[in-house]
Symmetry: C3
């Protein structure tokens, strides 16, 4: 977890690079504008050729179901996925439940990238307020189900739960 | 302290539940719309019947004065109270000073919930900017006077000052 | 680093006060309105007379080049400087590179104050969004080049990298 441009995606990717396993990148962005397109291309350049990329703007659950036993995935990111879900279905409860179930039964390992979006002033826009609330709840559910939770600030990790691989027990 | 929907209220309530003392919930929300009403009802359901509830949208000081020696209270939350104060009195200095004095002489224990609101982009609205500044200062005064300060992110606590009950010294 | 009114400037100044060295305050604010003027006067009163003050709304690089071997400086703050740079030059790449080089060759020690601005909802304004992204990247570059990085919340420090002077190794 982290704020915008906090280095959280790069941190997640380095974490997965440290494993000697097949690697998958689950991308949630829909390539809708040139700003987004250049970000995605920057992401691809950074990751190199060892990775398989799956585009899943809405159906992350299937992408998780497809992961094999040894596979390690970066899911980047919950924030864009939740936004896609809200715009496409109007509500998020069912989609979120489906995702949490897929996460439970997933055979591979998943490093999930998510934004902290609730530390600014309350937005005036009711939809933004609702998004902020639902995103906060989603982050809580994910954090409860994960073994490791890291807050990234300016590229620096702060472990909120569990321990990073290689750190003393 | 924490962002919106970070799990900070639930964390505060669990902390108070762990004490074997009379429990008070000091609610600062004015029930002005249906969104707020459903949040408050969700809060009540979660707390159960063991709690006394005091509604104090403005006069938290009296609510603190009424706490007995053994009593443990959740004050939820500073952010809404400061917003109520600013809207009702136009300025906050006097109300904040009165609250800090009440906190000093309070005989019970108080677990205070507050938002971090200063980690987004500077708001364009001058009132929001002023609120953000005054809230930041209020958080600093509270943090200085408390024995325990915890930042909650995605439901996970990070101790900024003091130690949680039951943790090693 | 910290949010608005988090106590980060005061923390930086106390850190520098603890050194027995000549002290410089590098101020980035342009005194454009009365709100800003009163903030700056409050800052000056707090620091006292021992400090040299340099106003550098754009050219921090020269201010860093002027620091002597023993000198310790507070640079307050990166956020306002980046905003000044964006407004004055339209882009920031060159100015940021120049600053990073000045930081590398700087003979004194610099304690830099910066805001976390990426933990709210994505701003609707494209310029604010770009600022948020560039600021996040700048914070990452600074954090990578510094020996000590501290996140300040409600006046309380959380060490993200390195160790505070006087803390156990």
């Amino acid at each position: 977890m982290g704020g915008a441009r906090s280095g959280k995606s790069e941190f997640a990717e380095r974490l997965v690079e440290s494993f000697d396993s097949p690697k998958t990148f689950i991308a949630t962005s829909e390539i809708s504008d040139s700003e987004m397109r250049s970000r995605i291309e920057e992401h691809r350049r950074r990751r190199g050729m060892e990775w398989r990329t799956v585009e899943a703007p809405l159906d992350i659950a299937s992408a998780l179901d497809d992961l094999g036993d040894e596979e390690v995935a970066v899911l980047d990111c919950l924030t864009i996925w939740l936004s896609n879900l809200m715009l496409s279905e109007g509500e998020t409860r069912e989609g979120v439940d489906r995702l949490m179930l897929a996460l439970e039964r997933c055979r591979g390992s998943v490093v999930t990238v998510s934004n902290e979006v609730g530390q600014g002033i309350v937005p005036e826009n009711p939809l933004a307020r609702r998004f902020r609330d639902e995103h906060g709840r989603l982050n809580q559910r994910f954090a409860a189900s994960c073994g490791l939770v890291v807050l990234v600030t300016a590229g620096l990790p702060l472990v909120l739960k569990g321990a990073l691989p290689g750190s003393p027990a």
